[in-house]
Symmetry: D2
Subunit: 340 residues, 4 copies
């Protein structure tokens, strides 16, 4: 079986397991106050060229989204997101569970458009009755998006400008950030994110870690953030588990080099599929490929290759997602191209 269903089907980069093993019997303090967390924080600050940043480690993506949003919004505010944003549709209402509305805008290849964002906010404040409405209080984007697409630096700058103008924090979900930074043709760097957002996270779960996201607040975390993390049940007693993983990932650029593997393998797949005349649902420069397959062909692949079901395309076609990762081997890639 060729397994391309998602980018979290393997464990962790071996260097992580090795470090967990080496440090296993060291006695360290809990709740993220250990030296590995401290070291990882320092390395991440350096990688972001943002020495003043606060860095906090949280176990997973939905948890990071819910905690960041709930800790930064005021009660009368909601978070603006693309209609296809992960927080809008695929987190079982985790944001609403914290009492906040997700205000949606149309997506364009999975992305928010700065002009539409400005129009939304301007219209909101122009409404006589806006005291009866949810205030747009924060903007959520993902990079790569749910469709594997990327913002350009200019697009991020435009969003940043609107957010600054209306004093809304800009939050970037980087669950697959490594793959975004490693993509060909992108002009966006970690330092750009530290400059252009108010909070973003560097995804570990899908980029080489067993679990964990590094949440970066370039201008500092909200007051009592740790207590809010605890209140949402997300403060790990053995914080070392997250600290060690990110310490390894940010040693000698490991995060970036392993991310590159996902891009190289994805690019080879895309070239192979294109050669064979497959139809792409959307053009994506990162590690997720969306193909429109005939249902008959999809049925024939059952038991031979495993893809992610994305959505029904029409009565006879289905959109599937094919994902590579830091761990995908080129022989698997070639086998899949041969198979299809």
């Amino acid at each position: 079986m060729l397994y391309f269903e998602n980018d979290y089907c393997e464990g962790a980069h071996p260097a992580i397991l090795q470090k967990l093993t080496e440090t296993n019997f060291e006695k360290v303090s809990g709740y993220g106050t250990d030296p590995y967390c401290a070291s990882a924080r320092e390395k991440i600050r350096a990688a972001c060229a943002c020495p003043e940043a606060d860095v906090q480690f949280i176990s997973g993506g939905t948890q990071s989204n819910a905690i960041v949003i709930a800790s930064m919004l005021q009660r009368w505010q909601g978070v603006v997101a693309a209609a296809t944003g992960h927080v809008a549709g695929h987190e079982a209402g985790a944001i609403e569970y914290t009492g906040h509305k997700v205000i949606t805008l149309p997506q364009h290849n999975g992305k928010l458009d700065a002009a539409e964002l400005r129009a939304l906010v301007a219209t909101f404040y122009a409404d006589d009755n806006h005291d009866h409405m949810v205030f747009p209080g924060m903007v959520y984007i993902s990079h790569p998006t749910e469709y594997g697409t990327l913002y350009t630096k200019a697009e991020l700058e435009a969003l940043h400008a609107v957010c600054q103008e209306y004093k809304m924090p800009l939050f970037l979900d980087g669950a697959r950030l490594g793959y975004g930074l490693a993509a060909e043709g992108t002009d966006v760097t970690l330092a750009d994110l530290a400059r252009l957002t108010d909070v973003f996270y560097i995804g570990g779960t899908k980029v080489g870690a067993l679990c964990g996201e590094a949440v970066v607040f370039p201008h500092g975390a909200p007051a009592h953030f740790m207590t809010m993390v605890k209140q949402q049940g997300a403060l790990l007693a053995k914080g070392r588990l997250l600290g060690i993983q990110f310490d390894v990932l940010f040693t000698d650029g490991l995060y970036f080099s392993i991310s590159k593997n996902a891009i190289i393998t994805a690019n080879r797949l895309k070239a192979g599929f294109a050669e064979k005349g497959y139809r792409f649902f959307m053009d994506s420069p990162t590690n997720q490929i969306f193909l429109v397959l005939e249902n008959a062909q999809l049925a024939a692949l059952e038991g031979k290759a495993k893809f992610g079901f994305w959505e029904k395309f029409d009565d006879t076609h289905t959109v599937v997602r094919i994902a590579t990762s830091w761990a995908t081997r080129m022989d698997e890639v070639e086998a899949l191209i041969d198979l299809m």
Copy 2:
């Protein structure tokens, strides 16, 4: 000044004030257990031809929406509403504050379409990952809608059928229900609502009362509803205030006869505006009229007539709402037609 901004600018029907005064020194029990609440419940059950219905009185519309929805949804469920539904946009996030998502569908003259509702739910359950999503657990409609439009009985039956099929309660917000029932051409009666919905409310605040909505559960209220009302801060100690008002409104058909006044006056206005060539933004059979006015004309009316600002139409035009009510006098109507 001719005041047509909304339908809650006057106090209450005089018969209500008179009854409040007559009964003022009677000593009755609190929290909705008094004889006036009991009598009002009985009269409402009779008016709905639904002797088994539970009837509960709540002070206002947003409160009723938040309480009904939060008490009937399970934690993993959200409420489906038109994008223009009051709960979706004009209640400051009251539904999300209780932890639930409002799942929106496009509106058609303010209304939900049963086929689109069925498609939404069918697509939801077809999604492999629907355990990661908010379950559509209830359907919210308003009648009249925010645009003053009305469902036909056939449309309600179609929505009812989808809701039954997918075991989703159907909730009808009747903040202006009297005006909907009194409209010309409607084929929907109170008894139809009791038959076709799982919960609806009969609006008092906008139809002759000082405050109050009568929430009707044709098949019974959720267990411990009173405790949930208390928990949301909405249990009035002097429940008589609501009971007496609805007892008066449902004596000798007062609710229906005073609603008729809003329709008659609105119809006269519509005829007058049509005669003068005004442009209607939307055709509405109830007590709200939406006109597209030139900004210059709107400015000229300042200080002479007061309308509700609805939305910007284009750079030189504005949509205004002109509302009549149970209390609107025909001389005001004629004066407005003359003025414009």
Copy 3:
């Protein structure tokens, strides 16, 4: 039947009903922006000798408590209250429903002790792990308390001092405030409350109004308070209902003069009961009297007098509450003394 069960069994002071009737057809703007609300605010500010105060009207006590607390606490904070405080035990978890803990301290005749409060907060901050705990962020007291007792000015000053020291707002629930201010021997005035608390409310529901509490913020309301009121479902469209009532109550000192009636009638009852040798459960200077009755006697009174059941005293005795109000007549009082 002699009805002394509570202080909300009658309607409103007749002057309120008269004013509601007189102003009934005036067309005014909604949501608390009408001239009667403005006038009532002005009169209340004057009565509090606090010209800068924000005054907001809310329908009832539990709602006021939930809204004030939820709008003033940060997410990591809870509210400190006596174990017998209304918010701690008799509001169906309305505070917790907004996400906040009620942190309890022992009661002393229903009151918080300033030294115990200081000890609680000092111990909290001395705990190494207090980041894992709910921060004491606000203090809730009631005056009169649930037992009808009153703070002295010195006691309020002591609580105020602790609150100032630890930057915790002091919130005083005045559901029965009129009866507290009118009690014999009290040295606390409205102006004292405006000086010593950060927010308090002047109860209307139990002191002459049909419904409504006037929430006074001596130093200003929290930002976007109106939106939070809306979000909790408590913004009445016809705000006039509350404005007119408080405008009447604060015209010519009506609030104070009608409160006096409850004290005079309660004092006559206490004298009568004492003369007959009844046992008082607690000494209370306001409108609530707590007697320890033999169960047999209580049974004998059934159908003749109605009291509030308070709690079981022992196997053969019960504590009952006997309440007077602005509306209690002296002939009822004498009849009850005769009966018992």
Copy 4:
């Protein structure tokens, strides 16, 4: 430095790291649907002698508490706990954040008393106004308790009987369950817990795992539990991380054998301290020892041994917690006895 501050200062049992490494590149499905989770579930069911149990893995203790409680309580219910229960005091209000009250009873060596529980519930339902109060809907106990003490089987049976009588689920927090089961003199087994509770968890974080608790529902989990886990942000994409750990811990009785080490080392410490005349704050049969130390002695130990600060005892004494774990070595123990 001799580190006895807590039982989560080391990493994981080496067999866990080895298994994580061995299985690292196996491609498995996400969100707890992998074969390791399945295998771990089966082994836990066997260990509990409860083949019908649902077993779910969650990252940590506070998260488990918040998720279990919020998913099993109805909105009008709260959870009953000892005043010293972890959910009552040390989780930053995580339960209240989900909208539920923690109803406290006095603790007796950290434990709830069944008779007091019955009295609480009986009194609740005897109150005429209990519809205005939070219903006791669930009972939370911990075993070992926060003081390291244990329930006897008879005590659990008594609590179980009250819970059955009043239809309240009994929930046992087993963050340190291994140490409770391995204690000398206990008559409680895993099978007893499956028989006497409605949900309990087997703590991993403090008993050999990097993170993770196995939540066991002997009679099945609440409907849509997975969606609620996702909604609270706790569904790990790489569920294997938890499954593999518990699979290892429940292979060949590892969980029990490593727990024994904590007991043996704690017992040696207790004997040593007793011999030297130390004063025990409380007698505890598990891995936590509470000593009353003179502040001067505590200061002298600074830099040599690290204990947990528990609470101030009096002006010159402090209560400290000394914890052993699965990883504590006897040479450390002897060194500590020598030092003190």
